[in-house]
Amino acid sequence: MTILKKNSPKNSSITVIGSGVAGIQACLDAASAGFKVYLVEERPYVGGIIAQLDKTFPTDDCAACMMGPKLAELSRHPLIEIWAYTEVLQLEGEPGRFRLTLKQKARAVDPVKCIGCGLCAEKCPVKIPDPFNLGLNKRKAAFLAYPQAVPAVYTIDKRSCLFFTQGRCRICEKICPPQAIDFNQQDRVLTLESGAVILAGGVEPFDPRLKEELGYGRLPNVITSLEYERILSVAGPSGGKIQRPSDGIPPRKVAWLQCVGSRDCRMGRDYCSAVCCMSAVKQAMITREQDGGIETTVFYNDFRAYGKGFDRFFERAEKEHQVRFVRSLLSRVVPDPQEGTLQLTYTRSDHLLQEASFDLVVLSVGLSPNHQARGLAEKIGVGLDDYGFCLSDPLEPARTGREGIYVCGSLQGPKDIPDSVQQGSSAAAEAMDLLAGAEPQEFKARPFPEERDVSREKPRIGVFICHCGINIAGVVDVQAVADYARSLPDVTYAVDCMFACSTDQQELIKKTLIEEGLNRLVIAACTPRTHEPLFRDTMRQAGLNPFLFDLANIREQDSWVHRTEKEAATAKAKDLVRMSVARARLLRPLSEITYPVVQTALVIGGGLAGLTAALTIAGQGHEVFLLERTAELGGQARNLHYTESGADPAAHTQALISRVENHPLITILTKARVLESKGACGRFTTTVLVDEEPREIEHGVTLVAVGAEEFFPDEYLYGQHPRVMTRQAFETLLTRRPDEASSFERVVMIQCVGSREPDHPYCSRICCTGAVKNSLKLKGLNPKARVSILYRDLRTFGLRETYYQQARQIGVRFFRYEWGQKPEVSEQGDALRIRVFDQQLQTSIELTADLLVLNTAVRPLRQGLELAERLRLPLDQDGFFMEAHPKLRPLDFLRPGYFVCGLAQGPKFAPDAITQAKGAAARALTILSRKTMVAEGMKAEISGTFCRGCGECERACLFEAVAVEPTAEGSKKAVVDPSLCTGCGACVVACPNGAASLAHFQDDQIYGMIRVFKSFDLQVDQLRRSF
């Protein structure tokens, strides 16, 4: 149900400034919920720092492959306008009505004409150090930052171009095929009206030249972690070969130095950069995987593996990959003048100095806020902290000090990819919340001509062989391939062309399709990965079904990999085209499936996350059912009275409860649990038990926000001695009975109780900051109190590090223990005696405590398993709900229409839970805002004639799209629910009868391709002989 929104003069568009992963996520979520989005990026391309990474922790996914689909979606979305190479000069106005003045810098290339062929760069005579590869190699003055850059428009670097510096050359202008070079292009100043602004300027690495003792800039084999990413990257300057910059020789020993420009008050950088520990582990592991002969050592301070799956990743590096970890902060790098190696001196655990030599030293450089974004934030009156990060609300980190302007990603404080992504989503939610009621933008799809029915026509195939500049034509004889194509059965038209994808060529293809009466199209070109959607669009414009098209990949699978074998490459191109034509003859039109969306949300869990998500969704005018297991709303946050930065989550939660209770669109169901849920994304039917009464709810999306629970240990005399309590109990004491709390003179806290243990090998993320926060609170009440914290690694990551520093400064004592030597607690009358072996001092210490606080783990909710089974959602190894992708889809489940937020997904701080809840709501709104869902036509089909109801397909399907159901005749047949089917083909493989098939990949289509592959029979013969 959607209520009518009141009319308002607010501008409903959102401007996102900065295009890293956080900014991109904000764009996609807001645009998918129906808001017009402008993305402004100061660099010539979008994608932020991730574009430069090789792989990402802890999944080892390729960064470029992760970003590819997001960038493709971004550049194709009809509601997103990308303003790359554009600066923001000014921002005026008020929430709902901002006016931005932008300067679009002249590229000297017309972005409409440029087809990205790269001829300009190839012929450009100027070579300069490539900033994308951090100067490790050279690029031309005419450049595309990297091959997959979006927009794929070349830029001429005016500072190095011969024409701009010396007035001569102009080679690129002469050779550019579409004549896109325009030396007269001027910077353009323009204005933009926007209702809300999201700052997502991101970060830049610390310049280690400021720490001269480490030799960066003087010693060629001392490099930064970002430079090492480029070295590891297959697309990087060394093609992914690990080598030291001085001589290109593969190193035998590589060292990582942590905290370079982090946790360093001398550099004015007291904070922790939050990502370097894990990034170093990842780099060391990839290094070992690539060459097991390379010894890798990471020198670190505290090991901060605070995120989901991080500790497991760390242990895998140490145990399976023999990455060496040494806890020691190094003071300098000393070059050996004769050996060419780098000497490092470190402190061993027994306090003795040890020297070791390395071939390559990687400095794990810290993160600073992007200076341009910082400048802008300052200019528009958004407060910055001492380090230049954007100040934001302590509980709602996406809100800046200025209403209508939001922040996400590392500009708000250093954070890793998932934290950035979810903050991107939450910033989108905040902006949408502000603009709720504003007239939404009309989503105008381009009208296509009516589709021609070709089912009775004989195939008439048109074939276009693309030169792709010299990418293909430089290797493959394209004309010969076109001539050959003309000779194939049912091909009535074949021609070669310079760039099949250029705007003018697209028009020509469309015209040819119509004029020649063609009904199938084959393009032999680059790759379907990037270009299939474009040609399908051309088909639609010519009045043809888009699935009557096939792309023969003669660039990435031919010319690029057979550069030196021109004849063989031409022969292979002919083979590929022949196979494509064979398939095209058998292609059948497919249609999309449309069904209405129930614009209602079901939020399971009435804690801080659930309340926040419910309000965010209801704010956009959608009905919400809020389910709470217990009799009262509020969850754990009701006991959370203060954060380290002084916010009060409990009071905040109370305020949310009263807003939820009074919201006309929110129905609260307490003492309620889920019994069963059916349906697909956009139309679920869930049966819930409310006070043991069953009730059915129709809804379009499901949000899981069930929370987690506190762990109560059976060690350290917990439950046996009155002076032993958990963190939550201690916080309640500090808040409710401060006099009693401050009467304890000697307080000891033990960290990692129930965390990072063999049975629960995860870090609970919040306990270190919790201990620091509580010791500051206690010292505030009673400055004489003696507080000792027994820890394993102190994980006050990000800006929280400053509270740790404060605690040390006011005299809180920290003792480090190791898991094998846990503290021993014994009774001493009213007090307690704690014995611990301190790893720093390498000696046993005895402490007496009037109060022992156990910082216990966050455990998944016990009822979570039952819910997961009923909703058929996965849990991770530790029992928390498992998101679709730990990096890029931290708030979605793999099953469409399901979202997760709060402690249900893993341990987290209250502001993070709020961020996630708003983010998950934004994700849910991308579905709720639609009236109908469109499912792509590429689905599995099961032939009723051949199906014998065995159920193999049902078992094979990961998406529960196939079910064996009784028929009217009394037999059993498998039925596909097309709204759930993703077209993966697993059922097709599983079906023993050949009843299951995949539309667009029918057996006859595939066999048709194989049959025309001339050497096929020969190969089968060879295979037979080899057995």
Partner: protein, 290 residues
């Protein structure tokens, strides 16, 4: 070019009146040659180095402070301090007397306290480098040295105001201006052990050995210093230990002022060079510089 005469206050410190008379002579000779007039501050006393500041912080600051008051009586804007230990103590006193409000010191600094200049830094200023380049008559061609700064002239940077305290450059710039080769090397500011050469001989010898080893491995023929304490420790090492760093000849340890004298042809240079424990003259003669 410099004006004909420029006048500076000058604080020599005790070493330059005793064990480092050669350094003092070379400074005076070079300054006279360059037209820099040095006026020794009247009735100066101990700067408060090691002996004082390791026992009584307040006394150390007061001793140095008295020197600053004496200096304030002279009309010159700047005071040159050749000894890095003295420089460090005097700078510390300025810092303490101006900014340390917790401790009560029995003296108050007058407004007219001159700006303190480490002599090597002063000589490496842009203007003087230009002068040295122009006046070089016999460039130090073929002389490969490492410049050893020790720790006192640059650290701690909050006190000394040094910017390149991890990799100082002043001596390197001077050597280059004179036509010599200053090799890059990693131990520019490592500790020489200073006065521990008296009390903790083993420790000090270990530190010096490490420095001299690295200098030799980097291919240096000599070490250039601006600190007489470093000079003494490095110069004495082969004699005290009865040996020399393995496989290399003992390296002469030269004051930068001696190299200026050599390149500019200042009278008396030969005399200064004759007072070293490791005689630098065979090396310099071999290169045709003497």
């Amino acid at each position: 070019m410099l004006p004909d005469t420029l006048k500076y206050s000058y604080y020599p410190g005790c070493s330059l009146k005793g064990t480092a008379r050669d350094y003092a002579d070379s400074i005076k000779g070079v300054c006279r040659f360059l037209g820099l007039e040095l006026e020794e501050i009247p009735d100066w006393n101990c700067c408060g180095a090691t002996a004082a500041h390791s026992i009584d912080q307040k006394a150390a600051i007061t001793l140095a402070g008295r020197n600053l008051i004496q200096a304030a009586g002279l009309p010159h804007k700047e005071m040159l301090v050749p000894c890095p230990l003295c420089f460090n103590r005097l700078k510390t006193a300025v810092h303490a007397l101006k900014q340390d409000l917790e401790n009560q010191y029995p003296i108050i600094l007058p407004e007219s306290v001159p700006i303190l200049q480490d002599l090597a830094d002063f000589m490496a200023s842009e203007k003087l480098i230009e002068v040295l380049t122009q006046k070089t008559r016999k460039p130090l061609e073929g002389l490969k040295v490492v410049c050893y700064y020790g720790c006192m002239s640059s650290r701690p940077p909050e006190i000394t105001g040094a910017r390149d305290f991890e990799n100082p450059q002043s001596l390197d710039r001077i050597v280059s201006a004179l036509g010599g080769i200053a090799l890059p090397w990693p131990y520019k500011t490592d500790c020489c052990g200073a006065s521990h050469s008296i009390s903790l001989k083993d420790l000090e010898e270990g530190l010096v050995k490490k420095i001299l080893d690295m200098a030799g491995r980097c291919g240096a023929q000599a070490v250039v210093v601006s600190c007489q304490m470093c000079q003494a420790n490095l110069d004495m090492y082969p004699i005290r230990t009865g040996g020399r760093p393995k496989g290399s000849p003992a390296l002469p340890v030269l004051y930068f002022t001696e190299l200026i004298g050599l390149a500019l042809g200042v009278k008396g240079t030969g005399n200064w060079l004759s007072r070293h424990l490791i005689d630098p003259r065979p090396l310099l003669r071999g290169l045709g510089l003497l």
